[in-house]
């Protein structure tokens, strides 16, 4: 006879232990998630706080006399002529006019350096857009120099004694005069999103790096996705099971573990030196990164294809679908969400990759915003690296801002991934 009572007792006794284990595991899991989330929160909020000043820009309003005689141009001048005119002089004239007492050479230098070096180009572009300004006197706003910017934002403390302050008393006096006159204001820094890189922190923008990253990722995606998916489908569905295929499989897995800088060296040797593709260009960067992401996407795609239930294949084959039709009508669509997830992970990896791109010259200082995949460019993580490496104070906040842009880029990519997955994941 089975003693049911004693069995019930045994089960009851073990039950307590089992529930305790479950509770413990749940608590540990929750703790891990919390810790991970906390670190993320600290990281992101730290970067955000540091980056915020980069989105504000100090502007100085000056009364500019656009004297046609001094500038040597008029409203009918050609674009080239206007571009050659000396706008710097107009700005300096305006500054001198406002502070007529400044006479000494060193003091003049302080005076002229209130506005950014980029101010003359700002003025030039304004004139090019509005030729009617020529011959008139206008109140116009210019980007302030990075030191002025730092002072206005409070990064440089005015109360510190003069010897320990980057801005000396004389220049401070000038700035405070301008402030009293209401000629200094803080505006949203749109130019951060529309300018390329610069040696001057106040005019350096992220657009060059954003476009560089976009072009590079575009090349990477176009090169990797078709190749990786084709390779995964072939290996999973069509390849004979033999030594050769095992060998290929091992090598793909090995490729995924190769340090990324090796791909950079390969890119330098093969694509730049041998095929003579342009240096520093997204096309080469994209190819190098696609070599790097290829194994990731192949491996993810293969496991997605493997996860498609065999009954689906049998259903199609049983109806007389060819192997090709079975794969492309049924297996591939069913595996697509998984393949897309793998692809986005690979692309996110590529977005954050720095080392191989250093090797192919994408670390060069490039002011122009790239217009195609063959133009010299840099990418977001390298922009972060370059700015972090710059001595000027103003680049500190720019570095954090660039990191923030990079993170936003990643979030956008993940959002696309989730959207695509939801779209194709009709779990019927």
């Amino acid at each position: 006879m089975i003693n049911h009572n004693s069995i019930t007792q045994k089960v009851e006794r073990s039950l307590k232990k089992r529930y305790l284990k479950e509770k413990l595991f749940k608590a540990m899991g929750f703790a891990s998630v919390s810790v991970a989330f906390l670190f993320l929160l600290i990281l992101v909020s730290d970067i955000t706080i540091k980056a915020l000043p980069a989105f504000v820009q100090t502007q100085i309003t000056l009364e500019i006399e656009l004297n046609t005689e001094k500038l040597g141009i008029n409203q009918n001048s050609t674009t080239v002529e206007i571009k050659q005119a000396d706008f710097r002089a107009s700005i300096r004239d305006a500054l001198r006019k406002q502070f007529p007492d400044v006479k000494k050479r060193t003091q003049k230098k302080d005076l002229y350096s209130l506005v950014s070096i980029g101010a003359e180009y700002q003025l030039r572009d304004l004139v090019l857009e509005n030729r009617a300004y020529l011959g008139t006197t206008k109140k116009l706003s210019f980007i302030a120099d990075d030191d002025v910017d730092a002072l206005v934002k409070g990064v440089i403390d005015r109360k510190v004694e003069e010897s320990a302050r980057r801005i000396k008393n004389f220049k401070l006096g000038l700035i405070e005069d301008l402030e009293k006159n209401g000629q200094i204001e803080k505006t949203f820094n749109w130019s951060f999103f529309s300018n390329g890189d610069s040696r001057e922190p106040e005019i350096a923008g992220i657009k060059g790096a954003v476009m560089g990253s976009l072009y590079t990722l575009l090349v990477t995606l176009l090169m990797t996705f078709p190749v990786a998916v084709a390779a995964a489908i072939y290996l999973e569905e069509f390849a004979p099971k033999n030594r050769m295929v095992d060998f290929i499989e091992i090598n793909i897995n090995n490729l995924a573990a190769v340090p990324s800088i090796v791909f950079g060296l390969l890119g330098l040797a093969v694509f730049i030196n041998f095929f003579e593709l342009p240096r520093s260009a997204p096309i080469v960067g994209g190819i190098v990164l696609s070599l790097m992401t290829l194994p990731t996407i192949i491996i993810a795609s293969r496991s997605a294809i493997k996860a498609v239930p065999p009954s689906l294949r049998e259903a199609a084959l049983g109806l007389g679908a060819s192997k090709m039709q079975t794969v492309f009508h049924h297996v591939f669509p069913a595996a697509l969400p998984g393949i897309l997830t793998g692809t986005i992970i690979g692309m996110a990896q590529a977005l954050g990759e720095t080392a191989p791109l250093l090797m192919i010259g994408m670390v060069a200082f490039i002011v122009d915003i790239p217009q195609s995949v063959a133009d010299p460019a840099t990418v977001l993580p390298i922009q972060v690296y370059l700015w972090a490496d710059s001595p000027e104070r103003g680049f500190l906040e720019k570095t954090s801002a660039a990191i923030l842009v990079l993170i936003c880029f990643l979030i956008a990519m993940n959002a696309i991934a989730i959207y695509l997955r939801k779209k194709f994941e009709k779990k019927w």
């Binding site: 049998e314 259903a315 049983g318 109806l319 007389g320 060819s322 049924h330 009709k426 779990k427």
Partner: protein, 278 residues
């Protein structure tokens, strides 16, 4: 006692075809198989099976679990090709043509020999697309109206049309288990194969759904040849004309369904149908 000797003589009559007793052969064979052996790697799952399947007949394959019914069935439309370790030897003919010949295209073969699987496996598509898939890939219809008709006709034949006619665009996987199985049958007959292989089509169904499918099989018999694997002897008795009993990979006995169930000649068959094992 005399019964015993009867069995012995019958067994010797078919000595060249293993131990099969009864009438494994017929004159008007649609499918004809001789000395079929099937191996999964080194493991032999089918031993020397020889069996004919007559035109427009329903033949039931019965036997204990693991005896090789599914394996044998899957040889008939080369579904075993999809299993790498599976090897089939022997002669299998469809209308006198070798199924396993080098020049026999398995895709064409499967269009002629359709299959309904043990577990319903509709595509994750709409009900309409499920049924239309076969005709589409084979180019059986020339326009949308024809395809619509074919889909409707197939669903009617499978006894599903009334239940789904208002939601043909709804996902096929959203149907109940029994409805899904009938959808799979509709999908198979939409291709208008000559032979339909059914692997325990009613194993997951309630008595009502089972009755619908059994009725359907009797109906389909007019136009198709049907091989059905079943664990239910009542079902075999209701739908089939002949019954084949498999045991440990061997074909033990084949005969008129009535005779198999009332007067089995082999003692293994007798034991199985009287429920002494299996």
């Amino acid at each position: 006692m005399s019964n015993q000797t009867d069995k012995a003589t019958l067994a010797s009559m078919h000595a060249d075809h293993g131990t099969t007793v009864g009438q494994p052969f017929c004159d008007n064979a649609k499918l004809s198989t001789r000395n079929v052996d099937v191996y999964y790697a080194d493991n032999q799952a089918i031993h020397d099976v020889s069996l004919d399947i007559g035109r427009n007949e329903v033949i039931a394959l019965i036997g204990p679990s693991g005896c090789g019914k599914s394996t044998y069935l899957r040889c008939l439309n080369r579904m075993n090709d999809t299993i790498d370790i599976c090897k089939v030897t022997g002669q299998l003919l469809l209308d006198g043509q070798n199924i396993y010949a080098k020049n026999q295209d398995p895709v064409l073969l499967r269009a002629r020999v359709g299959m309904v699987f043990q577990k319903p496996n509709p595509f994750p598509k709409s009900i309409y697309d499920n049924v239309a898939y076969g005709p589409r890939i084979h180019g059986l219809t020339s326009n949308k109206a024809e395809l619509d008709d074919l889909v409707e006709e197939s669903l009617i034949k499978a006894g599903l049309f009334k239940e789904v006619k208002d939601r043909l665009e709804a996902p096929g996987t959203g149907l109940s288990g029994g409805q899904q199985q009938r959808l799979c049958i509709a999908r198979t007959i939409a291709v208008q194969p000559e032979v339909i292989l059914m692997d325990e089509p009613a194993s997951a169904l309630d008595p009502i759904a089972t009755a619908i499918i059994e009725e359907l099989i009797s109906e389909l018999r007019k136009n198709y040849t049907i091989v059905i694997v079943t664990h239910s002897m009542q079902q075999a008795a209701r739908v089939s004309q002949r019954t084949a009993y498999f045991h440990l990979g061997k074909l033990i006995e084949v005969g008129e369904t009535n005779q198999i169930f009332t007067n089995p000649k082999h003692e293994l068959t007798e034991k199985y149908i009287t429920g002494r094992f299996g």
